[in-house]
Amino acid sequence: MIDKIKDFASHFFVTGDPLIYGADVSIGLSMVAIFFVLTYFKKWGWLWREWLTTVDHKKIGIMYIIASLLMLFRGGVDALLMRAQLALPNVHFLQSEHYNEIFTTHGTIMILFMAMPMMFGLFNIAVPLQIGARDVAYPFLNAFSFWMFFVGAMLFNLSFVIGGSPDAGWLAYPPLSELSGSPGVGENFYIWGIQLSGVGSLASGINFVVTILKMRAKGMKMMQMPLFTWSVFASCVTIIIAFPVLTVTLALLFIDRFAGGHFFTMLHGGNPMMYVNLIWMWGHPEVYIVVLPAFGVFSEVVSVFSKKRIFGYKSMVFSLMIISILSYFTWVHHFFTMGASANVNAFFAITTMAIAIPTGVKVFNWLFTMFRGRIRIEQPMLWTLGFIPTFLIGGATGVMLAVAPADYQYHNSYFLIAHFHQVLIGGVVFGYLAGIYYWWPKMFGFKLNVKLGLWAFWLWNIGFYVCFMPQYALGFMGMTRRVYTYGWDMGWGPLNLISSIGAVLMGIGFIFQVWQILYSIKYGERDTTGDPWDGHTLEWTIPSPAPEYNFAIEPIVKGQDDFWRMKKEGIVPMTKESEIKPIHMPRNSGIPFIMSWFWFIAGFGFTFGWTWMIVVGLLGVAGSMLARSFTKKLDYYIPVEEIKETEAKFGRLV
């Protein structure tokens, strides 16, 4: 009996690696610490009522952002481990299998569990406020989306200590990811972690499209919406079309692994190349899904901090939509070398290069907006300015990669690694950080410390160039991606060392940001006006942090940048006591949280192939749905008195 348990445990828990023991210990300790702190300060009830059951989009947004920062940390540690391994030739700090696991988890976490949730966090924080709405279209679904992302991320991360991590790359190409190539549970963790959070992403996509179409304040036409909201719209439309493809692709891979199917195997008529086509039909739009909202943030920031209207509003909107459409017709550029005909490659090379045109339009519009503007270099603007050169270089190298014949040279080299990090870090991460700095006062009611922010900014920026510029050269010198070590004779040593130093600088930049947040929680400058940046759009008309009902009186909009108009006309946003009516609000619910954890149980069961656990999980899911379906009290009214009190507290009541 004891032996049996021991045997099981040694397969179940990943053992034999000091890194993993370290992780076990730190997971254990943090669980104990969290438990202790919550119990000691009697915060369990508060946690449940205020956060775990909330349907308030602002709180959901904050939870998304916290979770994504944690994931940025995890993905960043992976990155540093890899850069440590590659810093010098012949290092054997990580074994080759371990290196494979780490680049796989790094890529997956960064894109699906860091970039996506940070993006949804910003959607949640800003979109309802920008369009003058009290909430998103489906608040309950919104909470469900968040918890599905959360349990998906947890499931994926669990693979590090239980059962073993996936190691077939962030897109899990078969036949490597098939049972024959990866017999462990790692790829199952990959499939189910992404599948669960993918359901959440799809639901969010639908939620925000409906929100934007139907919940805009009276008078706000589509062509008067703030550009961030437009970018969210473009991104969410893309989600609705792209994510089902991902769901199917992963489901088919799972059928191969779980039920002995032959979609992508080498035997019995399977076709691995079909997987590569399918996954990139999602994968390429995915990179635009994450970058378009960053463009939206830049548009807001550039116009506010130049004290000007955005230049070429209409062309900005059209270019967003064109990019999201074109993004579907480029996927083959990820495998020009697969041996499709020259005509096919030429078609996809041209569509890929065509995306540079609307993107270029955007960059020029930002530059024209700044031209002759009264520019203020606050933190959001700083990150925007940092973004422009990085993105220009990233775009240029992207066009180089799009030249099909030339790609035979760069394919899967470090040139590619440098290119996509350039756009992902310079475009996506810088963009979201700009967005977080920009909306931070709206979320929490205080500004983040500038001095620490400057340190963080320069460390990230300089670190970025030091890390990735040498990699372009390494690519030309023949270094391919996913190599775990190399010999002295290759001559790659010095550039790799420089690159690793850059990675460390970015890591220190991140530490400065954590410090900046902690420091500012204590000493940060309070924002009493609700409008710390002299903003143009509706979110700045209400107090910071926004009250739970957002707008005491629903705004009526007269045009684009309506708050700016009000300021020009000398109108101060105040709440007229006589106009206050009771506000209809959705009730909190524990069901999204509980249902998602049942999905987690089912996902874990699928991962290990334990039928009883799958059954328990799915029954729980069905039970939660029924419970929801039979819930009667879905909403409540905030009484006039309470609204008056809140508004008076902010000094808004007249």
Binding site: A137, I206, D256, G270, N271
Partner: protein, 201 residues
């Protein structure tokens, strides 16, 4: 008093607002479901001739089976239409009655499909025999899964109708479930043509 009146008006407005919202959201969900099926259809098209020496569609598909299934599903779509009519007339019992008929027809469809699958498996045509069969079971099975989920959903709605009668909420739920049901019907037509009819040709 005037306060109270404007309050109820508000309430009403919000509810209408809400109905409108759910229907749009549901349409978007259907769009994503179309893409989901489209993707599986595409893989089926790629693999439909990858028999690997195993049984082909021509050998496996039996006309009485899939024709009965088609008949059951099409009829159920019709009866769900009758349910909607009863809903519009506000007749609860009639509405529940037609929903029960719809669900029974759907159940019959699932029954035939399961027995069809069982037959195939007993003849050695399992999911792991060839890429063609993997794609077949996945595509037809996904549709079957959708129908089963629809059945559970419909049952829950019938219970609610029994308890609460017809109100704004249940009206919306019935509208959505019948939309879903018609959608599955349309998908089945594609399945019938592409998988079965083209398979036996």
């Amino acid at each position: 008093m005037s306060q109270a009146i404007s309050h109820t008006n508000d309430h009403h407005e919000e509810h209408e607002h809400h109905e409108d919202l759910s229907v749009l959201g549901f349409w978007l969900f259907l769009v994503s479901d179309v893409i989901l099926f489209g993707t599986i259809f595409a893989t089926f098209m790629v693999l439909r001739s990858h028999f690997d020496g195993g049984p082909t569609g021509k050998e496996l598909f039996e006309a009485p089976g899939y024709i009965t299934e088609t008949f059951l599903l099409l009829t159920s779509s019709f009866t769900s239409g009758l349910a909607t009519l009863a809903l519009n007339k506000g007749k609860v019992n009639q509405l529940i009655g037609w929903l029960v008929v719809t669900a029974l027809l759907g159940l019959g469809f699932i029954g035939f499909e399961v027995s069809e699958f069982a037959n195939m498996v007993s003849e050695g045509a399992t999911i792991s025999r060839s890429a063609f069969l993997t794609a077949f079971f996945t595509l037809v099975g996904t549709h079957g899964l959708h129908v089963s989920v629809g059945l559970c959903w419909m049952t829950a709605i019938m219970i609610q109708l029994k308890r609460n009668g017809i109100n704004a909420l249940t009206t919306r739920k019935v509208t959505l479930v019948s939309l879903y049901w018609h959608f599955l019907d349309v998908v089945w037509i594609f399945l019938l043509t592409i998988v079965y009819l083209m398979g036996v040709m």
